[in-house]
């Protein structure tokens, strides 16, 4: 698949095209996932959040993180939009968190050990591409997945290029599948 910005092709290895089902499979395997959310999904000043698709995307992201209990790092100035919703995230720079993720000795956001799967959404395309390249080359200990509406070849797996409508649909499906999965796991545990 052609990347959203066509010149971000870096070499022979490209990301696998992901969909909600494949992301679920990767999340199921992961022990310590992390979710990185960037400023691209923050509403512009004066925007009506009741109709803005970015607000809906943010809402889906919060639900996904809650369903699977994934710690969230907000980068750029994304923190404040989540704070308004009462949703707890750790503010950092994208470069700062990528630098930590490439260190196998880092103890992770919760101090439980380095993360093994990182979900990205809403990070400025070209800086995300560079950060994903860093992790592709120098962080063999983790898997990167992008949930943006733009295909990112430097990730291990990436949603394809798609419209806002389809993107929201993908995220909603991911959220619902995680909820169902959670219910199944809880049922099994009770049994």
């Amino acid at each position: 698949m052609m990347p959203w910005q066509p010149t971000t092709i870096a070499g022979p290895k490209q990301a696998r095209v992901a969909n909600p089902e494949s992301v679920i499979r990767m999340l199921k395997k992961a022990k310590r996932p992390l979710f990185i959310i960037g400023p691209v999904i923050i509403c512009d000043e004066g925007c009506d959040e009741t109709v803005c698709h970015k607000a809906k995307i943010r809402s889906s992201c919060m639900d996904i993180a809650k369903e699977w209990d994934i710690p969230v790092v907000t980068v750029g100035h994304a923190f404040k939009s989540f704070l308004k919703e009462g949703f707890d995230t750790e503010p950092m720079g994208i470069i700062e968190i990528v630098n930590l993720l490439k260190d196998p000795e880092w103890k992770g956001l919760r101090g439980e050990g380095q993360h093994d799967l990182v979900l990205f959404i809403g990070v400025t395309y070209y800086i995300a591409s560079q950060g994903l390249s860093t992790l592709k080359h120098f962080a063999q200990h983790l898997v990167t997945v992008t949930l943006c509406k733009f295909f990112h070849p430097n990730a291990d797996a990436s949603f394809p290029n798609m419209s806002d409508k389809k993107w929201l649909k993908y995220l909603e499906k991911l959220k619902i599948s995680l909820r169902i999965l959670n219910q199944e796991i809880n049922t099994i545990r009770r049994v």
Binding site: G76, P91, V123, Q130, H137
Partner: protein, 777 residues
Amino acid sequence: MTLKGIKELQNEIWMIKNLKANFGELRLNRNWDEPMGPTSKPNVTDLRAWDFKLLSRFEPFYAPFCDMCCMCTFGKCDLLGKKGACGINADAQQARTFLLSCCIGTAAHTAHAHHLLKHLIEKKGENFPIDLGMNIDIEAPIMRTVIGEKPGKLGDFRKVLDYCEEQLTYLLSATHTGQEGNILDFESKTFHAGMIDELSKEVCDISQIAAYGMPKGEEDVPLIELGLGVVDKEKPVILCIGHNVAPGAEIVDYTNDKGLYNEVEVCGICCSAIDISRRDKNAKIIGPLSKQLEFIRSGIADVIVVDEQCIRTDVLEEALKNNSTVIVTTDNACYGLPDRTNEDADKTVSDLIERRIDGALILDAEKVGEIAVKTALRISKDRRNIKILPDLKEVTKYAEDCIKCRMCERTCPNSFPVFDAIQDAGEGQFSKLLEVYEICYSCGKCEESCKADLPLVSMLTKVGGHYLKNQNYRIRQGRGPIQDVEIRKVGRPIVFGEIPGIIAFVGCTNYPKGGEEIAKMAEEFLKRNYIVVATGCSAMSIGEYKDKEGITLYEKYEDVFGAGGLVNLGSCVSNAHVSGACIKIANIFAKKPLRANYEEIADYILNRIGACGVAFGAYSQKASAITAGINRWGIPAIVGPHGTKFKRLLLGRKDKKESWKVNDLRSGEVVEGEPSPEHLLYAAETKEEVIALIPKICIRVNDTPKGRQTKLTNYIDLHQKYIETFPNDLHLFVRNRNDIPITYRKQVTEFLESKGWKPKEAPFEPSLMDFKKEEGR
């Protein structure tokens, strides 16, 4: 001198044992009795130990643009998880390409300095004095510290450039296949390239200040007209693009000498514009390099004179579309044009007017002055009726032809909503196109990739020009170095932290959301009593913003190098004065010897002077060299999101306490330090992230408690304002209770308790330098 005289002198020298001298050096260092320091004209490895100390704190972070190496015939080699045919791996390859980038940038500044110096020596003579006036004794702080000599006359700079070129050759050779292979050694060489870049810039700016009579650091220099709307289109217009002032300066001199000043408009884009206006305050500045394609497309310029660096390489092609005439003036950008350097000027004018030649290469700046003016005067009338841009109806018609491939926004470096804007334009609505125009830097990639061949840049230019008729702003004339007298006033409050920092907005216009963000960042810190300086395109971007009252920051804030002052230093070679000011603080305030004393000065700057560079739109190889140059002095820099495409940053890890230890030279103890500055080169994603980071990156380990309180107050304020939360690493910067800002005492105290914070003593004389033997362990 007669042969006999020389022999007598040789005999005298021979009789004094171990005296090493030559005539040039004797003249060069007259009246300077400071002993020579340890590192005069350092070779590639002479400052390696200092570099390694920096690199142990600020480790290289690499973000490959490409997985492959394509530099030799063994390749392409895929370096993802494997080594290439020469044995290089991915991180060393990034370090290598960054060194290469810095060598290119340094070569550009060094060639620029060489071209200009040659011209100025031809014009003024070898012995033309380097005199920066009564208020500047330390005329060349970088040269003094690196070379160990000071300039007395223009000819003295030749030796400096000889040294630069020698070092640059060694550095470039290290990037050849099968040479350097270690990332730290690559990085040390990169710092070295940056240092050479600093020297070249200093030579360049001091030469032009001295020889062209540019401002010598005086406060309150005049305001210069800036913007697309400042040019009188009724007159013949000459546009200068690039960085080398010589052709532009000769053009204004010619118009003045011939009494044609009121007959011709001389204007410029990019740093040439700034420097021409330093030569003649009546010259006009169109704007930063981002205005280039747009302005050429507008067809306003009758004659386009290009010199060197950051010129669009299709300038000739674009100019020919609207019958503008192009004159190229340096050996590094000839564009295939015939060499008319030795041709009779009037014959060349005639050939240009009659279109017998598409343009001319003229390697004689004075001749350029004559030919450009004569040509502009004669062709402008004929060009007035040329219709160059589409009218608004045609813009709509073009937009209707859009085939909706969306390649415009996919190839836009910033993914600006060009596609949506074109859809609206197809319905006669131009507001979105206007919004794009205001933040676009007209790289033209959208137009190149448009599958319907729409002239998108011309459409944008038309809409922008139609709706924004009064693009008329003000910028301070570039004033050059900071005067010694100013350094005496601010040295103490800067070192003690009472002036919370010096922020230098430098570099190009590859901004993520337009130039207004630079001005807004600058104003935030001006209001907080930081010293703000600016150069090059960033200085212009600051001038292109007007507040609600319709005035620019240059009119609103004082032109002083002091708290809350805004100073335009000049063009990008004037960046040398940023580190120059820091070096002068070390010398004038702290009495540190400069002469060939690089490491001690850099160590002082790193630990005591809260300065930082912000290159939010950095794009070129020169920008990479500039950051490497200031970084080796211990001055951190923040680049914008596109700066990650330089592929290499230098990051600290605040969670690694070991890396922040310092030597307390007074007590002789190795003591716990703090992550200040936290990074040496960091890329921020947004304006908000930059603003929240600057106050923290201006913290220095040597701040007094009062100074630290001021810096932390700014850090907390701005973090809360732009990220909307209390900074979660604040405890790392509070050494003891005296550092706690009064206004946030309760909040900070509670936070410190939650972190299990323990007070510690601030070191008396923090340093990364090794203890001298008698100083202890």
